[in-house]
Amino acid sequence: MSLRIRWFILPILTVFLSGCAAQPAASQADDPGKLVVYSGRSESLVAPIIDQFAAATGIQVEVRYANTSELAATLLEEGENSPADVFYAQDPGGLGAIAAAGMFAELPQEVTGKVAERFRSVESLWIGISGRARVVVYNTALVDPQELPADLTGFTDPRWKGKVGWAPTNASFQAMVTAMRQEWGEEKTRQWLLDMQANQPVVFDGNMPTVTAVGAGEIEVGLVNHYYLYRFLKEEGEDFPARNVFLNNGGPDSLVMVSGIGRLASGKNQENALKFIEFLLSPVAQQYFAGQTYEYPLVEGVQTERDLAPLSELTASNISLDQLADLEGTLNLLRDTGVLP
């Protein structure tokens, strides 16, 4: 009997001790070669390029992956105590919230100069890294692209009841709603959300599962960012039964925006933070976003993937990205309308 217990306890203690031994490396805050990234972008999209940065510089990078709004709220909660050095967000809304709280340090001219003015914050508090368009992804077997409405109000029609997928916890969706509030006004946006709710949209956790479901024919259309589709096309071939439509109406539902990054003033590794931001704007990283994640590169001289319509050909909304900062107001509206519980 006692032999049996020892057999159980001994391995546990071994693991326990080795577990202890393995930890100090992670908890030494004053290690000069470190960087803590809060990433609102999903791991499958950005881990490869972050690994490349770590390998090239030898900096020990720790990444906390979560939802963009969750990380923004976490940063606000942590305040000065935050262990984060940079906040890499999926959309300008999360960045705007942190900028408004005065938690970002200003970025130097040589960094901000790399990206056109409309893709960064006016006060140089954050900068865009890659561009993305909001699109409607549809299942090619179930939907004739001709019947797709000209703007998102069309999806409140009974034709689409139970057939539209969306991801209300997703930062890009939230940014689009913020844009709607700016351009359509509070009332029209509220009404649209209520009408959509009445049409029983299928709720997903994010863009990736939405596109998966459209491809599987579980739903007919999804409101997503453009680039997820191209990963499926690459992995499953041209037969993958889904395609994107950019609404091209110049309204808030034909939104082109950016993922972006800001440096936290309270961060302990300011230099590494700048190195990381510069790396993300380097040709290597911009090429990665263009070629591997099918986003729009924001730095001059890097080619957009040829399957993508060039940014200049899109009739996008004219809204400035700084106007998308009121994430909190959008979250409140989403809760008021029952889109979020």
Binding site: I5, E78, G217
Partner: protein, 545 residues
């Protein structure tokens, strides 16, 4: 939550005659420290929740909140009833009838316990969703274009029922095996039909066990985070998480969390009341009843048992292997699991060590030093029962981010959350073991001149070691499966098997989730097997000793 059974047994354990108090007063210091440690985060949550902005209060007091309460309680009730409806006949068939192969079925039926709810849910979704694996197969054969949606209430009900029936099955089977035939014979001789005998004799005896196992199941459902999230059914736990994810005003999440604590406490109080009812005496000389002859019903019964096993065990295992195969074929690297595996094992081992250490003072005091302070310290350690994982995690995040930045997002914080959650299991089972050790043995050692610490080391500890070991195995098993607290509190970059599964599933990479899920299930099975072997040994000791 499995420890609740231990706790219940503890309340029933025979109190041995009190002996002169040992010199263990110093234990109050660590015991009170642990109690204070448990209280701080919860107290902070309370302050935070009660001090919430008027907007948050308004938000709480709206119709939707009531809706979420009704949804959560409705699901808990439905799962409990259906799990009981499944478990009762299963337990009876394998314990009291001549069902062919009943020993094998009896051993297999509790096994779904090792499948975490989120793994069960993900496998279920991957097969039964409108365009899942089943539809793909049916499309080839019968041209079925889509299956009805399994998301929402029904999906959550089916998955949680299949995951939780073992709790009720085990409790009922234990009673059925102990049932004495003489009472049944008496009932029959007085003219009761077998059916009447069941309702008047067997059922009342089963009722206490059935009730407390049912409450365990209800608590499981109320606290469940993974399955309801994957199946898109907004219960309280999921609403709290979404609130935490998508609101800048986090006091609203704190408020919601407090409501969930209130609901949990209500259930626990109900359970305690049920268990206070007097129960029928069990006669000392058991004469097992002869197995009921099923006759022609044998085959439908066999079909039923096998159907449950196929749905709850075989299907999940098969689908998991299918996804694993697909993942490996697509170039998934198993080596990427080394780190999460190591982290899971390490964090669980740390949690076990911390929890057992923290439980010892309270358990020893409760068993060896009767008095109001001991009772208070012991009762207080059961606080974790009232805290769903998500609530404990939120409390620690809020508290840590604001007051203990040094501990915030460290492994220590995560282990502390586990400690809060699983301390009740540890205190419960260690206490039971202590009460089973007769004081005379310790007194003898004292009288021979041993000092208290050496008495503990040389007499008490070896005797209670089996109890501690099985508590440890149980905690190990539960910690490894824990999801919400791990998700929220894990240090930056710290992945465990559970978080790996979760992040893969939430991006719909079903194949990528398979390998960590399989490893997690294998590890859980190992600790469950260990648990079974120790409890058998314990029983063996009691019978021979």
């Amino acid at each position: 939550m499995d420890g609740k059974l231990g706790l219940v047994i503890g309340q029933r354990a025979k109190r041995l005659p009190a002996a002169p108090p040992a010199r263990i007063n110093w234990l109050f210091l660590p015991a009170l420290l642990v109690a204070a440690g448990l209280t701080l985060p919860l107290a902070y949550l309370l302050v935070r929740g009660l001090g919430a902005s008027p907007a948050a209060w308004n938000w709480l007091l709206r119709v939707q909140t009531l809706e979420i309460i009704v949804r959560s309680l409705g699901l808990a009730l439905a799962v409990t009833l259906s799990a009981a409806a499944l478990a009762l006949p299963l337990a009876w068939l394998v314990s009291r009838t001549n069902l062919p192969g009943r020993r094998l079925w009896a051993a297999l039926l509790p096994l779904p316990l090792v499948i975490p709810s989120y793994v069960g849910a993900y496998l279920f979704v991957s097969v039964f969703s409108p365009r899942g694996l089943l539809q793909n197969t049916l499309e080839g054969w019968f041209n079925v274009e889509r299956l009805p949606s399994i998301y929402g209430f029904w999906g959550a009900l089916i998955v949680l029922m299949l995951m939780t029936y073992p709790y009720i099955y085990l409790a009922v089977r234990a009673v059925l095996l102990r049932n004495d035939r003489s009472v049944e014979e008496a009932a029959r001789s007085l003219g009761c039909s077998p059916w009447q005998t069941f309702w008047r004799v067997n059922f009342p005896r089963m009722l206490p066990a059935l009730a407390s196992a049912s409450l365990l199941v209800s608590l499981y459902v109320l606290r469940d985070f993974g399955a309801v999230s994957i199946l898109r059914y907004n219960t309280f736990t999921r609403a709290i998480y979404l609130q935490y994810q998508s609101s800048f005003d986090r006091s609203a999440a704190a408020l919601l969390a407090l409501v969930l604590v209130g609901m949990t406490v209500l259930l626990l109080v109900g359970e305690a009341r049920l268990n206070r009812q007097p129960r029928a005496a069990v006669s000392q000389s058991l004469r097992p009843a002869p197995p009921a002859q099923l006759g022609g019903w044998r085959y439908p019964a066999l079909f039923f048992v096998i159907l449950v096993l196929v749905l709850a065990l075989l299907l999940p295992a098969g689908v998991l292997l299918y996804w694993l195969g697909r993942g490996l074929a697509a170039g998934e690297q198993l080596t990427s699991l080394t780190r999460p595996l190591f982290n899971s094992l390490g964090a669980s081992a740390l949690a076990v060590a911390a929890t057992v250490l923290a439980a010892l003072p309270a358990a020893i005091l409760a068993a060896r030093k009767p008095g109001w302070l001991s009772r208070l310290v012991e009762r207080w350690s059961y606080l974790g029962f009232a805290l769903p994982g998500i609530v404990a995690a939120l409390a620690l995040v809020f508290f840590g981010a604001n007051y203990t930045p040094g501990l915030y997002q460290t492994l220590a914080m995560l282990v502390f959350a586990y400690l809060i959650l699983y301390l009740p299991q540890a205190v419960g089972s260690i206490q039971v073991s202590l009460r089973l050790v007769h004081r005379n043995l310790e007194e003898a050692a004292y009288s021979l001149g041993s000092r208290p610490l050496s008495v503990f080391q040389r007499v008490t500890l070896p005797l209670v070691a089996p109890g501690i070991a099985s508590a440890a195995a149980l905690i190990f098993l539960t910690v490894m499966k824990e999801l919400p607290a791990t998700l929220i509190l894990a240090p930056t970059g710290f992945r465990t098997l559970a978080t790996q599964i979760w992040s893969a599933v939430s991006e719909a990479y079903f194949a990528r989730a398979a390998a960590p899920a399989l490893v997690l299930i294998l590890l859980s099975s190992l600790s469950l097997a260990f648990l079974n072997s120790t409890s058998h040994n314990l029983q063996g000791n009691k019978e021979t000793g």
